[in-house]
């Protein structure tokens, strides 16, 4: 638009503003004069229309609201008051600023419009006289609407500006403005002065037909406004576009969520699914078989020396390992699932027994295999019961100690290497090693000559039928005792350790493998038999020094960086026949605090080991915790390192003497 035309508009505007001002001042004198009211209204309408035409959208919007207020005056719904006139004049004074594009830092314009609206909306009492347009506004304001418009053939020639129309409609809240180009003719037929484009858009609820009418006041256009369900018109991807374009629409959503601890869980409901445990078990079984088959494939590929087969086998190995890890992760369950049960148990027991107890849990997030967690519940209940029933003193007895009158029971779970250590610690009366020893002798569990470490003495309470409780209570001490706990833990390939200090409390430690199903194994060979050592317990491997080839009468020890480490010869232990090879290897294994060397003929390598239980028929097997199937289909037994260390206990004993 040329500057000339704007100059014309501004000249016209000065005249209009003068007319407006005069009209308003006169209205103050004769408020009932309908002619004056109509004149003011006309002036406003003209300023708005011209302003819109010349691109002063801010001005048009401002006057639109100004005009709405005076429409009610014109309809007789609102009387002319000095206040109304004052506001009208204030509004009029804003118009030059709007035309010049001045900013409104103090929000005067909004304040004026709000005051005008407040003043005029109170006059709704004359409901019968309400103007048609206002009625229409009330009807249409509830539903969103679709607006279609197309400029008439000569509209452009008459000065219509589609961009201004669109921006005005946008100010009304129009969204998803889509141009319909279907009517554009071929270039030869194109009339440059004609607008062939039609537009369609969504108008929000609350836009009255009158508002739209005002937009098209100075443009000759065909337009239709239809109230429609948004869902019918708007296609899914359009909404997505809309949402991505207008992030502001999203922002109110988070405010609707109550801030609470549960919030993270609530925000990602779709991120997890519930799966029946049986399906996970089935998956694990399949993965176990896959790992076995993969081992066989690798073996076959190695024999064939076919590079293509080898690389494929390698790929399968990698995928199988990944699948194995994913499956095992899926089966991991945090300790928390158990802990809530324990809290209630402790609470109940504490009040039943009249022993105030504080229950402290650490490591609730520590994860264990689902099967381990399930099987762990009963033993832990038993241990906790013991801690509060037998471990804790009566309040009277406790008062005589310098301990806090509230007892303390701690349950902690931590990952240590390939194991999970679950510790139950109480600060109760503790156990007397001498008393346990005497009782064990009385029951014939040990001879009076037996030399036992403190740990071994406390382990006696795990023997079947051993109970130190003088009085059998409702809760514990009925014979179904710690031996059941031990059997369960050992069934999980775990170890149970007890430590106690008289007067200070008892600590029960459960050391459990992370998973029951698959472990990394070290494959070794003795006398043409292959055994698997759990990699998690293997610390180092080196060659057996030649001077140690022959078994020593004083027991076998190795000097590992200044430390004496006992070692056993697996050939002897497993009754192997034949002579050992000249060069043998020592695998140093560790379980708990104990360390020892295992002499083997040869190290074959590491492999993924699917653990298969050995049958009850072979429970008597020495230091065997399970079996696994090797690549060639034969069975390799898995050496139970913890049991091996326990069996070699007498060997470890003199270590201290040598070291001393």
């Amino acid at each position: 638009m040329s500057d000339d035309l704007i100059a014309v508009f501004q000249e016209e505007l000065v005249e209009l503003l003068e007319s407006l001002e005069r009209g308003l001042v006169d209205l103050q004198e004769s408020p009932e004069d309908a002619g004056l009211i109509n004149q003011v209204f006309r002036d406003l309408h003209t300023v708005k229309g011209s302003g819109a035409m010349f691109g002063f959208t801010d001005l048009a919007a401002f006057i639109h609201d100004f005009e709405t207020a005076f429409e009610k005056v014109r309809a007789g719904a609102v009387p002319v008051t000095p206040e109304l006139v004052r506001l009208g004049l204030a509004a009029r004074d804003q118009i030059p600023g709007l035309v010049n594009g001045d900013a409104d830092p103090d929000g005067d314009r909004v304040a004026i419009l709000n005051a005008l609206r407040d003043l005029t909306s109170g006059g709704g009492v004359a409901a019968a006289d309400i103007d048609d347009e206002i009625e229409a506004e009330a009807v249409t304001s509830n539903a969103p609407a679709t607006l279609r418009f197309k400029l008439s053939e000569d509209a452009l020639a008459l000065g219509a500006r589609p961009d201004i129309l669109l921006s005005e409609l946008k100010d009304l809240g129009a969204t998803q403005i889509v141009a319909d180009l279907s009517d554009i003719p071929a270039l030869d037929d194109l009339n440059a002065d004609q607008c062939y484009v039609a537009w369609q858009m969504q108008l929000p609820a609350g836009v009255a037909e009158g508002d739209v009418e005002d937009v098209f006041m100075f443009a000759d256009a065909d337009w239709t406004l239809t109230a429609t369900e948004v869902n019918e018109v708007v296609e899914r991807d359009e909404i997505d576009d809309l949402l991505s374009e207008a992030p502001a629409l999203d922002t109110p959503a988070p405010q609707q969520q109550a801030p609470s601890d549960k919030a993270p869980a609530a925000t990602e409901p779709a991120a997890s699914i519930r799966v029946p445990a049986a399906r996970l078990d089935a998956l694990m079984d399949s993965v176990g078989e896959l790992v076995t088959v993969e081992a066989r494939l690798t073996e076959l590929a190695r024999h064939s020396r076919d590079p293509a087969l080898l690389s494929t086998a390698e790929e399968v190995t990698r995928l199988a390992a990944r699948l194995r890890d994913a499956t095992m992760t899926m089966r991991m369950v945090p300790m928390r699932t158990l802990v809530s049960r324990f809290r209630r148990l402790i609470l109940g027991l504490s009040s039943d027994l009249g022993k105030p107890v504080e229950f402290v849990v650490d490591g609730e997030d520590t994860e264990l295999d689902k099967t381990v967690i399930e099987k762990l519940a009963d033993p832990l209940v038993h241990i906790l019961r013991n801690a509060i029933d037998h471990g804790m003193e009566d309040p009277a007895a406790r008062a005589q100690t310098d301990k806090d009158h509230v007892g303390r029971i701690e349950l902690s779970a931590t990952h240590v290497g390939g194991e999970v250590h679950i510790v139950v610690r109480d600060d109760g009366r503790g156990m007397s090693a001498d008393k346990i020893r005497a009782k064990a002798i009385e029951r014939g569990l040990i001879t009076s000559e037996a030399q036992l470490t403190a740990g071994q003495v406390f382990a006696l309470v795990l023997e079947p039928g051993f109970s130190t409780a003088e009085t059998i209570t409702e809760l514990s001490g009925r014979g179904v005792g710690m031996d059941v706990v031990r059997r369960t833990i050992e069934g999980l390939r775990g170890v149970i350790e007890i430590d106690s200090k008289l007067g200070q409390g008892t600590t029960v430690t459960l050391r459990l493998p992370l998973t029951l199903a698959i472990i990394d194994g070290l494959l070794i060979e003795i006398a043409d038999e292959r055994y698997t050592l759990p990699m998690s317990s293997v610390k180092e491997i080196f060659e057996l020094p030649l001077d140690k080839r022959i078994a020593s009468r004083n027991g076998d020890y190795l000097d590992i960086r200044g430390q004496f480490v006992p070692f056993v010869r697996l050939r002897h232990l497993f009754d192997c026949e034949g002579e050992p090879p000249t060069e043998q290897n020592v695998v140093v294994v560790e379980s708990g605090d104990a360390r020892m060397g295992i002499v083997v003929d040869r190290i074959i390598g590491t492999n993924q080991t699917v653990i298969k239980q050995v049958s009850k028929l072979q429970q008597g097997a020495r230091a065997i915790s399970g079996a696994t199937i090797l690549g060639d289909g034969t069975v390799s037994l898995i050496v139970d390192v913890a049991q091996l260390l326990a069996m070699s206990g007498p060997l470890i004993e003199p270590k201290k003497e040598v070291a001393a």
Partner: protein
Amino acid sequence: MTLAASHKIVITFSIGPQRLAIPATDLREIIDPLPTTRVPGAGDFAPWVVNVRGAVLPLGDLRLPLGINDPNPAERPEDARRFLVLEAVIGGEPTTVAVMADIVHEVATIPSKSIEPLPATSMWPSEFVEGLFKGPEGEFVLIPDLSAIFTAMAQRAAVA
């Protein structure tokens, strides 16, 4: 095992010179010998394990519990050896085990009334034998009590 039905279907096989029969319902399959793995310290009843299609099964030897003495083991043809995979109940739990056989003969239907209890004075351990019947060549065919044998094995293993 009830002997109520009028007839019994059994599998007959031999260990050393002794012919044995087990109910066909207890038999899962007959397989060619597989590579065995010795289990140190597992005892003489079930000293090995074998891999039967992905399952690690104990391999039992019925010679010891049944007191079978084979004076000429070298006479048993190598290629006639089989493993019988059996279902037995050990300590109340159904378990699958494999046992070695020098030769497997046939599936036979025998009249239940031909099965006799073990004579009071016999060379066989009565606790492990359910009964016996006379075979086609006039020899005694033993029906071992597999569950009793395996349960006893498991108990011995647990004590060991």
